[in-house]
Amino acid sequence: MPVIQSQVAEEVHPDVALVARAKLGDTAAFEQLVRQYERQIFRVAQHITQNREDAEDITQDAFFKAYEKLDQFQGNSKFSTWLVRIAVNESLMRLRKRKTSRTVSMDEDVQTEDGSIPRDFAEWRPNPEQLYGQSELGEILRKTIQGLPPGFRTVFTLRDVENLSTEETAEALGLSVPAVKSRLLRARLQLRERLSRYFRQTNEGAKP
C-alpha cells in the first residue's frame, strides 16, 4: 500500500551544497560562490563607500573573511545574506576610517525628518531616463544617492538595487524589520525629491 507523503520536500538553496563542500576544503566550490556573488558584493561596497578603490579592497576582504569564517556559518540565513552582512560591516568600517571626525553607523541621521515629507509634487516627464545620455544619467543617479546618509543609502541599495527582502536586509544590517522599513521609506522619498529636480515637468521644457 502506498504511503501518502504528507511532507513536501523543502526546497534547498543550491548554495547549501556549495558551502558544505567549501567547508570541507573544496576550493572549487568556494570559487563558484565567489563567482556568483562578486558583482553583488562589489556593488554593495561601492554604493556604501562611493569609492571604487575601497570597494575593490572590501570585496577582497569580505570574501577572504567569509572563507576564513566559513566554519562559523551555521546556515540559519542564506549564504548571500551572511556575505552581504560581512561586506556591509567592512564598508561601514571603511567609511569610519575615512571620516575620523564623525561616526558612521546604521543609526546615523535617523532622527532627522529632513526629506521625509514630500514637498515636490510636480509630475515627471514621460520616460525621464531618456532625457539624458547614459553617462549623464549615471552621473545624476550617483550624485543623488551620494547625498543620502550612509544608513539610508545602505538600506536602499540592499532592498531596491539588490532586491533583498525586508527580512534579509534586516538580517544583513542587524536592524529590526520596522527600522528597515522606516529607513527605506525615507531613502526612497529623499531620492524621489532629489531626482525630481532633473525629471520634473517644466513649463519651458528646459533641463534644470
Binding site: 576544503g25 576550493t27 568556494f30 570559487e31 565567489v34 563567482r35 562578486e38 558583482r39 562589489f42 556593488r43 561601492q46 554604493h47 571604487r52 570597494a55 575593490e56 570585496t59 577582497q60 570574501f63 577572504f64 572563507y67 576564513e68 514630500p118 509634487f121 510636480a122 509630475e123 515627471w124 525621464p128 531616463e129 544619467l137 549615471g138 543617479l141 550617483r142 544617492i145 536602499f156 531596491d160 538595487v161 532586491n163 525586508t166 522599513k181 527605506l184 521609506l185 526612497r188 522619498l189 531620492l191 524621489r192 531626482l195 525630481s196 525629471f199
Partner: protein, 78 residues
C-alpha cells in the same frame, strides 16, 4: 486614509503585501489626492530607475582581476 497613513503603507504597497481593504483605501486616496498620486508614481519611477540602470560599472577586466586576487588570498590561507 490620510496622506501620512498613505505614506506608511507605501513600502508594503510596492511589495504587494497590503490586504485587499488597505489596497482599496490606497487607491481611493490617490484618486482624490493629486499630491499622493504624484508621490506614488514618482517613487515607483525612482525605484525602477535605480533598479534598471547600473549606477556603477563592473567591467569584465575588473571582475577578473578581483576574482584572481580573492582566490590567491584564500589559497594562501589554507
Amino acid at each position: 486614509m490620510t496622506c501620512t497613513e498613505f505614506l506608511s503603507k507605501l513600502d508594503d504597497y510596492f511589495d504587494g503585501k497590503v490586504d485587499a481593504d488597505v489596497l482599496a483605501e490606497v487607491r481611493a486616496h490617490v484618486k482624490k489626492c493629486s499630491h499622493c498620486e504624484v508621490v506614488l508614481d514618482t517613487t515607483r519611477k525612482t525605484i525602477s530607475i535605480y533598479r534598471e540602470n547600473e549606477v556603477y560599472e563592473f567591467p569584465e577586466e575588473l571582475r577578473e582581476r578581483l576574482h584572481a586576487a580573492i582566490m590567491k588570498k584564500c589559497s594562501k590561507a589554507r
